[in-house]
């Protein structure tokens, strides 16, 4: 069994396809006639341009505007007379083979770019490497693994996958991805989740251990790959797949329905997403909107920081995909456990209690303004809500709001259109915010409770630390009382309260949250329909009574028992 990180949930069973693209070099082969080499070069350029146009179109349909931009720039580069076409043709006239001329000219550009100070510009050298490889592939007539035309279902196994790699593939036949490196926010993982393709990343040694053509089993939820399944294991997987399929079919009836309890109490079910590509599918899975759009993916993608335009396109894309449903985007929540190399954050002794999230943004006004401007500009595409993470004091909140006001004012001065009705809210995850919820509720348009961090901070437990992880539980009375306090304060001040931590998707916890009066539940898109069905079978009044009882509990065990009891009485 191979172990990695589950990056896109689901089960898959198919023949393995090992993908190992070679890095090509021109070699020393003597050149043919000048005319022949020039013609070969021009033919290669046309071929790569034609393919880039196809990929651009494919990206437009299946991925997003950022991916399209990559291929548009490739085409422009291949039409650059001065720096690409003329020098190469001249070098061929001077006796070089087309492949040698291409390699030398591109390497020259790559070396100039790599030496530039500006990270964003120097990062573009990877585009030139990509184009160079494509040209060499045609000039050297090397057959690279062609994943664009597959005749059978496969699970692709590779060291890593670049945007070009992924975009070129025949996605209809790809049942799963396994990469040796990469994380859950890598380009491949995001695309895989958007397309619903089970994926395991960070699976060291996969290429060595998996043989071409052999049937493998992949569990994208667990992050495991079985390179040599027995007949029994194969049968088991088939049965689980059928079960899941039947369950999914049964839930489809809940897709376009509102979320209402058996006795008529309505709440809102929203999705947690980490990329624009996940938005459409999440809405199709029954989401009434997005309760948490984690903006960190933009910062984790490259070695350089995302500029305002790249951010604007991502946020606008998500809002458009939501087709009029509300989208709540959280400002950068990096630092701490969420390492983002391009931010250059110095190592901290205690990252959870350090300069991260909104504190980092307030410390770096330009960084914050870039994101806020991109957000407000995107606000013309749909109902946008912005929320600030890790707010621990009124001062912090007011500073963040002032930064938002500054972004609005500057955009107005520049005559750049922006969203007019953008709501501003905050995450309630630092205990101080829950304790003073009444004070905060007067200065925001909504609350969103982040239970993951709220539990850690309140109980002083690091859930990633094996020696104490068992102490982490959202059933702890202190946590539930803080949740209660937050919801009450929100309602007293006329604002809605959402929850976007994992607890909001916990079936056993939901009746309690319902009974405490939570207005919106935001969770992983895969849970939405099941939760809607669950709530339809609950009595809000009974949940309220149970919640009152639960608030009297003194231990987590006691509280969980009370919460669980309702499950047995309801159908």
């Amino acid at each position: 069994m191979l172990y990695g990180v589950g990056a896109s949930p689901g089960l898959a069973m198919a023949a393995a396809l090992r993908y190992k693209p070679e890095k090509l070099t021109a070699g020393q082969a003597a050149a043919g006639s000048v005319q022949a080499e020039q013609e070969a070069f021009e033919a290669a350029v046309q071929a790569v341009k034609a393919e880039s146009r196809l990929l651009c179109e494919k990206a437009r349909r299946e991925a997003g505007p950022a991916e399209m931009g990559i291929f548009e720039a490739h085409i422009e580069i291949l039409e650059d007379e001065e720096s690409i076409l003329s020098p190469i043709l001249e070098a061929i006239e001077g006796g070089k083979s087309a492949a040698q001329a291409v390699q030398e000219q591109f390497d020259q550009v790559i070396s100039i770019l790599s030496s530039l100070d500006d990270e964003l510009i120097s990062a573009r050298s990877s585009d030139f490497e990509d184009i160079k490889q494509q040209l060499l592939c045609r000039l050297l007539r090397v057959q690279t693994a062609d994943l664009s035309h597959l005749t059978q279902d496969v699970i692709v196994v590779a060291h890593e996958l670049t945007p070009t790699d992924t975009m070129k593939m025949d996605l209809s036949h790809i049942k799963g991805f396994v990469t040796e490196v990469g994380g859950t926010t890598s380009h491949t993982a995001i695309l895989a989740r958007a397309l619903g393709i089970p994926t395991v990343v960070s699976c060291a040694g996969a290429l060595e251990q998996v043989a071409d053509g052999v049937l493998v089993l992949l569990d994208g939820g667990q992050g495991t790959v079985n390179p040599a399944p027995t007949q029994a294991e194969q049968q088991q997987l088939r049965e689980r797949q059928e079960q899941l399929h039947a369950q999914r079919q049964a839930l489809l009836v809940f897709r376009d329905q509102p979320t209402i309890s058996a006795d008529g109490h309505s709440v809102q079910l929203l999705a947690n997403i980490a990329s624009p590509q996940e938005c459409g599918p999440a809405m199709e899975n029954g989401g009434e909107g997005v309760g948490l759009f984690r903006s960190e993916f933009l910062y984790m993608e490259n070695s350089a920081l995302p500029d305002e335009e790249a951010q604007y396109r991502a946020y606008a894309s998500a809002l458009r995909a939501a087709r009029g449903k509300p989208v709540t985007i959280r400002t950068l929540d990096a630092g701490g456990d969420k390492a983002v190399p391009s931010l250059g954050i110095p190592k901290e002794e205690n990252p959870f209690l350090g300069c991260r999230a909104v504190r980092l943004c307030l410390d770096r006004p330009e960084l914050f303004q870039t994101q806020l401007r991109a957000l407000y500009r995107a606000g013309t595409e749909g109902p946008l809500q912005i929320m600030f993470p890790m707010i621990s004091s009124l001062d912090e909140l007011r500073q963040a709001k002032a930064a938002a006001a500054q972004a609005r004012e500057e955009l107005d001065r520049q005559g750049i259109p922006r969203g007019e009705q953008v709501k501003l809210g905050m995450m309630v995850e630092v205990p101080a915010a829950a304790v003073l919820a009444d004070v905060f509720a007067r200065e925001v348009d909504f609350f969103s409770i982040g239970t993951n961090d709220l539990v850690q901070y309140t109980l002083a437990v690091d859930r990633g630390n094996d020696t104490v992880a068992r102490l982490y539980t959202h059933y702890h009375p202190a946590v539930v009382q803080l949740i209660h306090r937050t919801i009450e304060a929100a309602h007293r001040n006329g604002i809605p309260c959402c929850m976007c931590g994992e607890a909001a998707g916990d079936s056993q916890f939901i009746p309690l949250l319902l009974g405490l009066g939570l207005d919106s539940f935001s969770m992983s898109p895969s849970r939405l329909l099941e939760v809607r069905k669950r709530i339809a079978g609950l009595s809000f009044q009974r949940c309220r009574q149970m919640a009152a009882q639960a608030l009297e509990a003194e231990t987590a065990e006691e509280l969980e028992k009370i919460a669980a009891a309702i499950n047995e009485t309801e159908v």
Partner: protein, 87 residues
């Protein structure tokens, strides 16, 4: 010949995307389009030359158009630079 000075205002300068748009716009015109900075001239119709020049925020460049449609070129390209390259 027309010549005007511009300060690059968008935070990320003339990196890939704006360079792409700039070069495409420049190629619409028959006149020559050059960007001058630090005493060197760069061909505005060459995306690679523009990117390689490393033009970042705050850089002062001179836009030089020369040829039949130099005036329209200056207008459109100048507006593009003034607007922060559409960012």
């Amino acid at each position: 010949m027309e010549r005007n000075a511009f300060t690059i205002i968008n935070p990320t300068g003339l990196h890939a995307r704006p360079a792409n748009v700039f070069a495409k716009l420049a190629k619409k015109y028959s006149c020559s389009v050059m960007l001058e900075l630090d005493g060197k001239q760069v061909n505005g119709k060459s995306i690679v030359s523009v990117i390689s020049a490393g033009i970042v925020q705050g850089t002062q460049v001179e836009l030089i158009t020369e040829g039949e449609d130099e005036h329209s070129a200056m207008e459109e390209l100048g507006a593009f630079l003034l607007s922060g390259c559409g960012e």
